[in-house]
């Protein structure tokens, strides 16, 4: 069962910026234990561009699709047997990243 694990940061109250070594170590463990599928950190929301080609002409707009103080800072995809395992790892991940974590299953 695969889960999308989103790292959520908060513009008003951002997490610490020194987390990379701890995250790398956590990733090593995810790989060793067979849970790791994919991971990536995202650039700032200001670097986002939204494309809408549902109408006559494609429209490009600057910035993220939703303006909010909370935003997606990075993602993992984990392969785990069930939600309990995912939640246990996410609990650790939240500490490791110093950020909130959302766990959501793939369909």
């Amino acid at each position: 069962m695969q889960y999308l694990v989103s790292v959520i940061d908060d513009k008003d109250n951002p997490g610490r910026t020194d987390r990379q070594p701890a995250i790398s170590a956590f990733n090593e463990r995810l790989i060793a234990e067979g849970y790791w599928v994919f991971a990536g950190g995202l650039a700032d929301t200001e670097s986002a561009t939204v494309v809408d080609n549902r109408g006559e002409q494609a429209v490009f707009s600057d910035g993220p699709f939703v303006e909010s103080k909370e935003y997606l800072a990075g993602v993992w995809v984990w392969e785990v047997p069930d939600l309990d395992v995912a939640l246990k790892l996410a609990t650790e991940a939240s500490k490791v990243c110093d950020r909130k974590i959302e766990v959501r299953p793939f369909r």
């Binding site: 069962m1 047997p81 069930d82 939600l83 309990d84 939640l87 766990v103 299953p105 369909r107």
Partner: protein, 411 residues
């Protein structure tokens, strides 16, 4: 021979959870388990009066429900899909490590009370899947429209399936934390029954308090060594024991100090005291008690006094001191102040209560306690204002009636 209808009612009370749990284990699908169980009970209503009550109603119902489930899968002709869809995770580990608590019903309870579900959803799902209450009954108890309650339950079941919430008893290391979530659900159910909210509702919902106690007994049978399970059961029994004396015929709340103690249910009191003694023995052996056990002990002190004047307030205060260390919530501090009033006087208690105002200004019991202390201190006008505020915030009709009479006695 027992009347067949009565036998069905009794089987529903005793066997519903077992049937649903066994089917969930077999088919890995809460919806299917619930529907098949409901069909099996409907069949029992038709058949038992004609054929007689089977010697083992639980086995009859499980077998019938299993057949219904298989029929349903065939009828829907989606056997393969269903099995592919049935993604709920079963506990495939051989019993042994957790053999003592390896029970289908326990798995079902932990699934329904999973922390990934919203608290309201946990309460509703537990009452439906474990308690066997109908959606209509649950909706009525929580003053929610039936369609809204149906949606809440459906959504919770969908999340269990989609997010793959496992159908199993948590591992030994996770168990204490997860049991506390289960107990919180039961206490919510009990409190909603005990202090029913809403102007149109009965002040006491016996059906809900009884259901919470029944489920706590079930969990106690499944986890006999868990101190907090025993503590919560004792607490609920000792509160429930006082119910006959708690509301007047006219629907007005009678506070503990003024209750007719002869009207208390002696059997429930005795059972509650037995459990508290059991926990005291464990505490003496070095097992630190949790909050439900301490609350039960406080209620045991109250129910030990034949007359309100004989209440051992110093023991109650000592127990509150212990509780405050475990749970520094302002509500506990408010209740502690009531004991302080008895020992050190209303003035000392009022000072302690007033300090809680920033946190409890919206809580009716804060104003009711203040009103009572101000009344005792002869500060009538301030007491009146505090009663007004308490009446405005109280949601329970019996409580409102009591507070109104108290206020009107002041001049």
């Amino acid at each position: 021979m027992m009347d067949a209808r009565e036998a069905v009612t009794r089987a529903h009370r005793e066997e519903w959870a077992r049937v649903v749990a066994a089917l969930t284990r077999h088919f890995g699908d809460l919806d299917l388990a619930e529907e098949a169980a409901a069909e099996a009970f409907a069949t029992a209503v038709e058949r038992w009066p004609a054929d007689g009550v089977p010697p083992n109603p639980g086995a009859w119902l499980t077998t019938t429900a299993t057949r219904k489930a298989i029929d349903r899968i065939r009828r829907e002709n989606k056997r393969d899909d269903k099995q592919k869809e049935a993604r709920m995770v079963h506990d495939d580990e051989p019993p042994g490590t957790l053999a003592v608590i390896d029970d289908d019903r326990l798995r079902l309870i932990f699934t329904c009370c999973h922390p990934a579900l919203a608290v309201e959803a946990r309460v509703a799902l537990t009452l439906r899947m474990v308690g066997g209450l109908t959606v209509r009954e649950i909706a009525r108890a929580f003053l929610v429209a039936e369609t809204a309650m149906e949606r809440r339950i459906t959504r919770a079941k969908a999340k269990i399936k989609a997010a793959r919430i496992p159908y199993r008893v948590p591992s030994a290391e996770d168990l204490p934390a997860r049991v506390s979530g289960v107990l919180a659900v039961l206490f919510l159910v009990f409190n909603e029954g005990y202090l029913a909210s809403g102007s149109g509702a009965d002040p006491v919902r016996d059906d809900l308090t009884a259901e919470a106690i029944r489920l706590a007994r079930l969990i106690r049978a499944l986890l006999p060594d868990d101190g907090e399970v025993a503590g919560l059961l004792a607490l609920m029994l000792l509160i429930e024991a006082r119910r006959p004396a708690r509301v007047t015929a006219g629907g007005e709340l009678v506070p503990l100090q003024e209750q007719d103690r002869g009207a208390w249910d002696a059997e429930l009191v005795a059972e509650g005291h037995r459990l508290v003694r059991e926990r005291l023995a464990a505490a003496a052996a070095g097992v630190a008690p949790g909050r439900y056990q301490i609350l039960a002990a406080i209620n045991a002190v109250h129910t030990s006094a034949r007359d309100a004047r004989d209440t051992d307030w110093s023991q109650i205060l000592a127990l509150y001191d212990q509780l405050v260390r475990l749970d520094p919530s302002p509500i506990i501090a408010l209740n502690r102040a009531v004991a302080v009033a008895e020992l050190d006087g209303a003035e000392v208690a009022l000072a302690a209560v007033d300090r809680l105002e920033p946190k409890l200004a919206g809580y009716h019991a804060f104003h009711a306690t203040r009103a009572d202390l101000l009344r005792r201190l002869g500060r009538g006008q301030e007491s009146r204002a505090a009663y007004d505020k308490a009446i405005e915030l109280a949601g329970n009709t019996a409580e409102t009636a009591y507070l109104t009479r108290r206020r009107d006695q002041l001049r």
